[in-house]
């Protein structure tokens, strides 16, 4: 079986997106990814860790066809990432809560199913199932802006899973959610992985990566600096905790012994 994700020499320089009369943005001319290689096996639970601006979201956006890559090749289950076949296989839950303000919960899921080619009956069945799983059935007719933060986060995840993707990309899915919801989302993501779905997770919570991921890659300044299991990373950096290994990998000297 081809790998879920095969990325070779991926580079992205922001700066080729000028518009009429537009002032250059702060990111223009900025190299977010520099010749990055990454290989994620089908069925893996893969974590991507790095500080803000390391290139995690850029990497995800490149895989999901949301940015124009500068150089390199991205394949999803053997298909070029910008092909329709590859796009059908990916489910993305973005870091930002980017829900359509005009749609209610049910419509959000049904239209997403439509965008991904689901027929109406299948989309209805799946939307019902997703609303039950994520405890959104009671809010089916409520528009996204009227939902609580936690419910919006659940809806984002439900939307990402609506079309039953084989590769689910979760960009900081538990950012700003309470502890109970975080545990609930962990439970569901684990179940999903148990059913054979490949998961690519980015997070700033190191304990989350350690708890969930089989393998973790550390990314800094657009380059992969290490990848291994949590145990392997601790051992490689002579650290007792993943936090310590992370700080060392990022070149920091901070004393993180209090995190042990």
């Amino acid at each position: 079986m081809p790998p879920a994700l095969d990325i070779r020499g991926l580079s992205k320089v922001y700066g080729d997106a000028r518009g009429l009369g537009r002032r250059p943005s702060s990111t223009e001319g900025f190299s977010a990814l520099e010749g990055l290689d990454l290989h994620v096996e089908a069925g893996a639970f893969f974590g991507l860790l790095g500080p803000n601006g390391a290139g995690k979201t850029t990497l995800i956006s490149a895989v999901c066809n949301l940015i124009r890559i500068t150089a390199g090749e991205v394949r999803v289950f053997g298909e070029p990432h910008d092909s329709l076949a590859a796009r059908r296989l990916i489910g993305l839950s973005e870091q930002d809560v980017n829900l359509d303000r005009f749609l209610d919960v049910r419509e959000t899921l049904l239209y997403h199913g439509g965008y991904y080619g689901m027929d109406r009956d299948r989309a209805r069945r799946r939307a019902r199932e997703m609303m039950e799983v994520f405890d959104l059935s009671g809010k089916a007719g409520v528009r996204a802006p009227k939902l609580s933060g936690g419910m919006r986060r659940r809806l984002l995840l439900a939307r990402a899973l609506m079309h039953e993707p084989r590769l689910v990309i979760l960009d900081e899915p538990t950012a700003a959610v309470d502890f109970e919801l975080r545990l609930e989302l962990w439970r569901y993501i684990r179940r999903l992985h148990g059913e054979g779905t490949t998961i690519l997770l980015t997070t700033h919570y190191l304990e989350e990566a350690e708890e969930l991921c089989d393998e973790i890659a550390l990314i800094r300044s657009g380059r992969l600096v290490a990848r291994d299991s949590a145990e392997g990373l601790r051992s490689a950096y002579g650290a007792t905790t993943l936090s310590e290994a992370y700080v060392r990998a990022m070149g920091g000297q901070e004393d993180v012994s209090f995190l042990a």
Partner: protein, 258 residues
């Protein structure tokens, strides 16, 4: 009910979403512009019209109807798509569409449909109201159909393009209030440009909306300031240019994807 083929479900869903948005906000998107344009017809046509001589032997209340309908439809097609696309970009929910397995032209077409539906709904409502209260008729239905189709394509696509370039709500509002609205007013909606002194008459011929108003007027009344082939030709050429611009933005991802 006709089932949508699997490979066109994305387009159908996006077109339905855009139409859904128009209908969900019908008071703002349809009722308000219909009322505003109808008031123009009532005030300028029925009230002041009795004091104004006929234009080209056409009663004034009938004379202004085609231009007013064109003006309302132009603004609807443009502003609907500009605000829908801008909002989707601004709040990043356009990513759900851009990541989906849809071809670039399908996304482009799907996003254009909302403005087309809105313009057609407004045009149809105004036409029915005008037929009831003014002596306007439909002299050349095929010309009218062609003019309406070109209007929807030209200004629907222009709205999408501006929605893609705009960096704030002010930008797309400015295009409407600084360019489209003045050009529509100066495009012979309320008068025949032949009655203008030189050089205003000649300058009016540089106004692209002038040709659209003339094509609509020929469709409704059977007469216009310029030959219908010229007015339809100029409008079609502009439509091709704007559609090509919009198609290129979607094909390359320029301005849509960083």
């Amino acid at each position: 009910m006709v089932a949508v083929p699997a490979h066109r479900r994305g387009l159908a869903a996006l077109a339905t979403r855009e139409t859904h948005r128009v209908l969900k906000l019908w008071l703002q998107t349809i009722a308000a512009p219909v009322l505003a344009s109808f008031l123009f017809i009532v005030v300028f046509g029925l009230s002041l019209g009795e004091r104004i001589d006929s234009v080209d032997a056409i009663p004034y209340d009938a004379y202004i109807v085609p231009g007013l309908i064109a003006m309302a439809m132009v603004q609807a097609a443009y502003s609907n798509n500009a605000s829908s696309v801008f909002q989707a970009r601004f709040e990043h929910y356009i990513n759900d569409v851009l990541a989906a397995p849809m071809r670039a032209w399908e996304v482009n077409l799907g996003l254009t449909i909302g403005g087309v539906v809105r313009a057609l709904a407004i045009g149809a409502a105004l036409m029915v109201a005008s037929l009831l209260v003014t002596p306007v008729g439909i002299a050349q239905p095929l010309v009218l159909l062609a003019a309406v189709a070109l209007l929807c394509v030209l200004f629907g696509s222009l709205g999408v393009v501006v929605g893609i370039y705009a960096e704030s709500f002010d930008h797309h509002m400015a295009v409407n209030s600084i360019a489209i609205l003045p050009l529509a007013f100066l495009g012979g909606v309320f008068y025949s440009v032949e009655s203008l002194p030189s050089p205003w008459e000649e300058l009016s011929h540089l106004n692209p909306i002038f040709y659209l108003v003339q094509a609509m007027r020929f469709g409704f009344l059977g007469s216009a300031d310029v030959p219908v082939a010229l007015s339809l030709g100029v409008t079609a050429a502009l439509a091709v240019l704007v559609v090509a611009w919009s198609a290129r933005l979607f094909a390359t991802g320029r301005r849509l994807k960083a």
